[in-house]
Amino acid sequence: MQADVVVVGGGPAGMAAATAAAEAGASVIMLDEYPKPGGQFFKVTGDGFSVAQKRMTREHARGEVWREKLRHLNIRVLTRALVWGRFDGRVMVAHEGRSKSISGKALVIATGAYDRPVAFPGWTLPGVIMAGGAQTLAKSQWVKPGQRMLLAGAGPFLLPVAQSLLLAQVKIAALVEATKPIEWLPHIGALWGQWPRFSEAWEYRRNLARDNVPMIYGHKIVRAIGEDHVNGAVIAKVDRDWRAIPGTERTIEVDAIATGYGFLANIELAASCGCELRFDSFARSWFVRCSQTMATNLSGVFVAGEITGIGGSALALEEGRIAGLSAAEFVGALSSGDADDKRRQPIAERVHLDRFASALNRLFGPRPGLWEFLKNGITVCRCEEVKAAEIEACVANGASTNKAIKDWTRAGMGLCEGRICRAMVNEIVARERRVELGTIPFPSVRPPIKPVPISTLLQVDIQTESIGP
């Protein structure tokens, strides 16, 4: 299989990139892990469901417009397709039980992000989930994660999650926000002129008010209560660093808790390709470094969306467009002059939106108190059940990297490949060694990017030698 441009990821950034490249005349293949393109933002209700218009969010309709564009432009879309590696320019995909190699002259990586996992006592109990998963279950399966839920986190991304839960008839006991409105004031300058995002947030906020959802500011989740399922949440007031203030705890009766303390980018594929990464000290996590034209350090490899920095769907769409145009230019479908002309407007828009995204990152980015529970017997690596104390002991014995912790404690060796524990392991290493988090390198990533059955890997369409160890 081959095409001029291969786009990995079918969220807003990927769809915009594929569309822009195809409109410029390039042949495009898009690969997406989920049943339908749309990503987490334009998440779609599963096939077979029929849902009254009034219960759909506007993202549903907007997603349909984009999916229609993909069809109209004859973009080849492989869904339920897991890209498990890239070797010598060939993208390897696990799809329908087979392994396919896809060669493209240009590659756009737009693999998105997932909720940042945050450990607190009780966080491994069934019923404690992350906001994106709560939204997905409600929005695409119309199943309620709980009858009565607590949402805890920081930043405006919890608002659409609450909205989806309300549409699925979940009762929201409280939305617990770590910051206080008064802290937002100093950032008002950066937010000036971002009216569409204000009106969006305002609309969400109004819907929550209509459903009488209590908003509790300056608080965070400190414990989940329950034996084999959540039956309560303890929240507490926090100081400016988000440390819980003793004596301010209160218990709220809920049967599910969803947390949303920001996002981590899915940079594994880009990292395994050799893309240069950058550490963002406000988001306290790693992203792919790129130029204004969304080019990486690798020739012909472009990036877009959340893997370049958390910014939301509007920014992802602009970045996707730029990346698609740059990829089209790279494969010769657009002249450099035309590409420059067409990129001008989205690049300007990106600068504008990026200002907003940066302000949100500074305001809602994780603060040190978020890691205060990473000690003693709390589970940090869920897959291999590794406790914080084991990681601390390993650091005391000289380990300074994620790889060393993994070798020694197995934290990060499980099926999720460290996606859940890595950031927290690194917070422990940084704290114990008193170094900046950004000095701890992102570990090297080797294929497969996610676990793939060996039989699938072996059903491959390329020739390899046989027999012999």
Binding site: F87, N397, D407, P447, L458
Partner: protein, 379 residues
């Protein structure tokens, strides 16, 4: 300026084992490692502590070699008691399968040689293989079964040795690169590192593929073959393998670990290749068909090395004092015994083990090119 009795270069199995035995004997030890512990060849080692499985075809089984391996196995048992669980030391036995008559014939010869050296191994047929390991397919027509062979988690061993050495006063410094040796006349007196000079009575070069360059700085030539090896690990699965079958094992955590490819002449030694991956997956699934349904979790690669005649280089090179070498392919099997031998040599100038065959001087001058060469080495 730092001083020590022993300065060890290399934080892999051989370096940390030597640090452990030297510190235990009361020596003041400084170990320097350029990257992180176990980040070189030890990180791509399979972990077999084996008397029966060889990485090369020896016409005859050398008794001295078997004796060293046996001594090391005993030291692992002792270390397991002293250092505890992280070694993941287990002695379930090994099966080394043969796929055709020619291989089987050589295997039979090797089995006899091993038995002559007192290794309690057996040459068995497929039916017997099946009784021990029902998961093995009939492509294995015969095998050498060695019931006392063991395996460890190499990275766990490195960390356990390092931790114990540190507790006994050894200084273990990672992120410190040793660039060359310091000599006075015919004597090595220290190491120049990225963080200054370290003076020591003895310098131990145990940095794997880095040894030739370091030794060359005092005119000592170490002939090594290098090749890239890829390792693989699956998800945790219910018990499938009891022993280890050639280089396929089930870890105590339940994952299946297998490897390694041998890819000479590659530039990026830590990258994996699709060809190497497919070749290895074809082999493991043809030998153990149940692995087809299992998910591959990760692969990784690194440089593997082999002195050009296949045997270790241990101890002091002729004509130069204050320098010890520890370079070998089977560092997992031999690390504890080599660590204790070097400690004996440092303290007493002699060892009870026969290391005569493993002197550097066995190589003819033409072999001693002083640089690592990258060629294929056979099975």
């Amino acid at each position: 300026m730092r001083t020590a009795d022993v300065c060890i270069v290399g934080g892999g199995l051989l370096g940390t084992a030597t640090a452990y035995y030297a510190a235990k004997a009361g020596l003041k030890v400084v170990l320097v490692e350029e990257r992180e512990l176990a980040s070189g060849t030890s990180g791509v080692a399979f972990g077999g502590v084996s008397l029966a499985i060889y990485s090369y075809s020896a016409a005859r089984v050398p008794r001295a070699y078997v004796d060293l391996s046996k001594a090391s196995l005993a030291l692992y048992q002792q270390a397991q008691e002293e250092l505890g669980a992280p070694l993941d030391f287990d002695a379930p036995g090994s099966i080394d399968p043969f796929y055709n008559d020619e291989d089987s014939e050589r295997g039979l010869e090797r089995a006899r040689g091993l038995q002559d050296c007192g290794v309690p191994c057996e040459f068995i047929d497929y039916k017997q293989i099946r009784e021990i390991e029902p998961a093995v397919s009939p492509i294995a027509i015969n095998a050498i079964y060695c019931p006392i062979d063991a395996h460890v988690t190499p990275m766990g061993v490195v960390w356990a040795f390092a931790k114990a050495a540190r507790q006994m006063g050894a200084e273990i410094r990672t992120g410190v690169r040793a660039s060359s040796l310091i000599s006075r006349g015919e004597r090595v007196v220290g190491v120049i590192t990225s963080e200054g000079e370290i003076f020591a009575d003895t310098v131990v070069c145990a940095s794997g593929s880095g040894v030739p360059a370091l030794a060359a700085s005092v005119g000592v030539k170490v002939p090594l073959d290098l090749a890239r090896g890829q390792m693989f690990v699956t998800e945790r699965i219910p018990p499938l393998l009891r022993t280890y079958v050639h280089n396929i094992k089930q870890t105590p955590a339940g994952t299946i670990v297998f490897g390694t490819t041998r890819e000479p002449g590659v530039k990026d030694t830590t990258a994996t290749s699709v060809e190497g991956t497919m070749k290895m997956l074809k082999w493991v699934t043809s030998l153990i068909p149940a692995l087809s349904n299992v998910k591959l979790l990760r692969s990784w690669a690194g440089l593997r090395l082999l002195p050009i005649d296949g045997y270790p280089i241990i101890g002091k090179p002729d004509g130069i004092e204050g320098l010890m070498l520890a370079v070998m392919h089977r560092g997992v099997t031999l690390a504890p015994v080599v660590g204790s031998i070097l400690t004996d040599l440092i303290l007493q100038g002699k060892t009870r083990h026969d290391i005569g065959p493993y002197r550097l001087s066995r190589f003819s001058p033409k072999d001693q090119r002083g640089e690592a060469r990258e060629t294929f080495y056979g099975n």
